[in-house]
């Protein structure tokens, strides 16, 4: 099963625990400037939004890399190989979402690699704004909310019976 980070910005408080967990996991120290996930503060609109790499299937960062330093692992994760990366930053330009970034202290690029299958950001999030779920069901919670609203707006009431045409097996 492919898993993905699912972000519910409505639950984010802007505490940056995810950024600290990420930098500790990847840099061995608390350093939000080197975090692969970022929380953006839109408090004038009463919103805080965590954002990171979505692991595109057809990843432009990977396509653009001239030295093949970005590969796809068995979980679909796009991984940067530091021994190959030459720090040209072409991938940072190619990524439409800005989630690949240059790390000046190493001369390489950094991006989310889902921590090898146990993302530290999701473990650290105190409100459940970041969860790690089956990639094929990432939208189900939102679907359920919209579904419940459409149920409230329904015009007819039960009991519900099959339409005559369907029940009789129209066609064949």
């Amino acid at each position: 099963m492919l898993k993905a980070l699912v972000i519910d910005a409505g639950k984010c408080t802007g505490c940056k625990q995810c950024e600290m967990a990420c930098s500790l996991e990847n840099e061995g120290e608390f350093n939000v400037a080197k975090s692969r996930i970022r929380v953006f503060d839109f408090h004038t609109e009463a919103r805080f939004v965590p954002y990171t790499c979505t692991q595109c299937s057809e990843a432009w960062c990977q396509q653009a890399c001239p030295v093949n330093a970005i590969t796809t692992d068995s979980m679909g994760v796009k991984v940067v190989h530091d021994n190959l990366c030459v720090g040209c930053k072409v991938c940072t330009i190619a990524c439409p979402f800005g989630t690949v970034n240059y790390n000046a202290s190493t001369g390489k690029v950094i991006k989310c690699d889902l921590c090898g299958g146990q993302p530290a950001c999701s473990d650290a999030c105190p409100t459940g704004a970041i969860s790690y779920q089956d990639a094929e069901q990432g939208g189900f919670d939102k679907m359920k909310v919209w579904a419940s609203q459409s149920a409230n707006a329904a015009t007819s009431e039960g009991p519900n019976t099959p339409k005559a045409a369907q029940a009789s097996g129209s066609g064949h």
């Binding site: 940056k16 120290e29 105190p126």
Partner: protein
């Protein structure tokens, strides 16, 4: 490890910046932030100096847990001699600025002297520069924040700045960071303004390391679990903010109302947390839009509010139609109950202006409240108030006052001096609800007896954050005591004062102590820094800090006479609620408190006490 080990010393007179090593012996004795910076100030500054003169210094200080994943580990404090009180001042703030300063590699910034012209201090990791602030001098906190980020083309910068109030010497002006978090009390903003420093802006890209990473994660994760499972920190504060207290304190008859003439406010419900979370009848929107966490905080008590666009305060002012920092309990009380105003939208607007112009809403609201009483007595008239009908309950008057005070115009200049100076000027010093010149916060000393002793003995003037015995007397944390008696309160106040001084020196928020005891905190500190930090060591450090602060004030000229409450609380009994018939028993508690502290009957630490604590 925990500390970065580096101090940035800025000589504003000469325009020089230099790095120096942190005194690690002092760090073991005073931990960080409040304690350690006060040690530096006490060693370097003459306690008798003019707080607004070049001999005073101002220190921005982080704690060893600032910039770590310990819950609430993002705090910083501003330490200086305060102009409102002439006593030691130490104002603590959250937001993101403190952690950013740590990430830039600095435990502290010491600002000394006075710049010949307006400047701001810009820090990018090791590089610190004094830059021309003439384009932002005379502008608001919000404008300054935006201007600096645009100037340096870096939205990740965090800014701590004064508004116009700090430039104009308003004696309770604040230093505001991240637009709406503030080192709010005692006039630290005026000290920065007196030095011609508009702001400090920081961008940090270095890391913070801890002594034992595994032990640190274990201790901080256990701490976070305790916060999440506690009713106050896990549910009450994130849902309702500190405003969760409004109805409870009112029902307890401990809500100072109309300059402490009364102890219950009939309009409390209209300005409560519940009111903030209820859709308005006017536009169907809620005042409270969401909650916000400060850096690393897993409680998230901050309020983000939006004013009704049709409300008279903002009707033609779209610049106030966005969401921003909303009412905390102290602000809602000071601006509301204390002035008799029950208009939630007006209070939110006044709170916005306090943030935008850099004012402490507690001292501002309390000063307006005292002015309203002077006005009702006929000692102040519209001739002096620029025509403002300064009546209790008038939202219009309150709004005009904040606009004038923020800009330090007209009658606003008088309000900017605080209630002690205002009441003295108009012949009724007894009407100023202050200790050491600083206005009371939101708990009446008749209804919560421990808070009377808290105010009387607070080293920075009346303050709830030096020993929040409300926890014990109202909420039963860590154990329930009777708010209406003085029995056992001196020991309770002392224990809270010492523990709080240690928490304030760690980089943590004192709100964690609704759930955490020192047994939860000490392992987090111990895993971060060397020195075998136990709860006992923290209490000893706290007691050392308390006595050091007391000695600073002693050298500044303070005596036991300055540990008194205003006569109103000693003579006028509460008229309603559970405390009916009671006055404050602070006079009964003080002798026992001095004795427990190891001080003379005149409130001076004895030589034995000072040498026991190595102050």
């Amino acid at each position: 490890m925990g500390w970065t080990g580096k101090i940035l010393r800025v000589n504003l007179t000469n325009g020089t910046v230099q790095s120096e090593p942190l005194n690690m012996d002092w760090a073991q004795q005073y931990l960080g932030q409040r304690g350690l910076a006060t040690k530096y100030l006490a060693e370097e500054v003459d306690a008798k100096c003019d707080p607004l003169g070049p001999d005073n210094k101002l220190i921005f200080a982080t704690g060893p847990l600032t910039g770590t994943c310990a819950s609430t580990g993002g705090r910083y404090s501003v330490i200086t001699k305060g102009p409102l009180t002439n006593a030691i001042a130490c104002s603590n703030s959250g937001g993101y600025f403190g952690a950013e300063l740590k990430f830039a590699g600095w435990d502290m910034i010491i600002l000394e002297g006075k710049s010949p012209k307006p400047i701001y201090l810009n820090i990018v990791d090791d590089k610190a520069e004094l830059l021309d602030a003439s384009d932002i001098w005379g502008t608001s906190v919000w404008n300054t924040d935006e201007w600096i980020k645009a100037k340096h083309q870096d939205p990740m910068i965090h800014v701590a700045t004064i508004g116009v109030a700090g430039e104009n010497g308003v004696l309770y002006s604040a230093i505001v960071n991240d637009l709406h978090r503030a080192a709010g009390r005692s006039g630290v903003g005026a000290v920065l303004g007196s030095k011609n420093v508009k702001a400090v802006s920081v961008r940090g890209t270095k890391g913070v390391k801890v002594r034992d990473g595994k032990a640190f994660l274990k201790a901080t994760n256990e701490g976070k679990k305790v916060l999440a499972e506690n009713a106050v920190t896990g549910s009450g504060l994130p849902t309702y903010g500190t405003q969760v207290l409004m109805n409870a304190i009112n029902e307890a008859g401990a809500m100072p109302t109309r300059n402490s003439r009364e102890v219950q406010f009939e309009g409390a419900h209209d300005i409560s947390a519940e009111a903030m979370a209820t859709p308005r009848s006017t536009d169907g929107e809620k005042n409270l839009q969401t909650n916000q966490a400060c850096f690393a905080c897993t409680i998230a008590c901050g309020r983000i509010s939006k004013i009704d666009e049709k409300h008279f305060t903002v009707v033609n002012k779209p610049q106030y139609w966005h969401s921003s920092g909303g009412l905390e309990y102290e602000a809602a009380w000071a601006l509301g109950s204390n002035t008799g105003v029950n208009d939630l939208e007006a209070l939110t607007y006044v709170n916005f202006i306090c943030n935008e112009q850099g004012l402490d809403p507690i001292s501002f609201g309390a000063t307006v409240s005292a002015a309203m009483e002077l006005f009702e007595l006929g000692l102040l008239t519209t001739a002096q108030t620029d025509g403002i009908e300064l009546k209790f309950g008038s939202a219009e008057a309150l709004v005009k006052c904040v606009e004038l005070t923020g800009k330090a115009e007209g009658f606003g200049k008088e309000l900017g001096l605080g209630s002690a100076r205002l009441c003295a000027k108009y012949g009724r010093p007894d009407l100023s609800m202050t200790v050491k010149g600083q206005e009371f916060p939101a708990y009446d000393a008749r209804g919560i007896q421990g808070m009377g002793l808290t105010y009387a003995t607070s080293n920075r003037g009346a303050c709830h954050l030096r020993s929040y015995t409300v926890s014990s007397e109202m909420l039963g944390i860590p154990e329930k005591t009777d708010p209406l008696t003085t029995d056992g309160k001196p020991a309770l106040v002392m224990a809270f004062q010492d523990a709080t001084a240690a928490v304030d020196s760690a980089g943590l928020c004192v709100f964690t102590t609704f759930a955490w005891t020192l047994n939860d905190i000490a392992p987090q500190i111990d895993a971060a820094i060397p020195g075998d930090w136990t709860p006992e060591k923290m209490l000893e450090v706290g007691e050392r800090i308390w006595n050091m602060e007391r000695m600073f004030n002693h050298r500044a000229g303070f005596t036991a006479q300055d540990d008194q409450l205003p006569p109103r609380l000693m003579k006028e009994a509460a008229k309603t609620g559970p405390a009916t018939g009671l006055v404050s028993g602070v006079d009964k508690m003080l002798p026992e408190y001095y004795q427990l502290r190891g001080w003379t009957a005149d409130g001076v630490p004895t030589n034995e006490t000072l040498s026991r604590l190595a102050v």
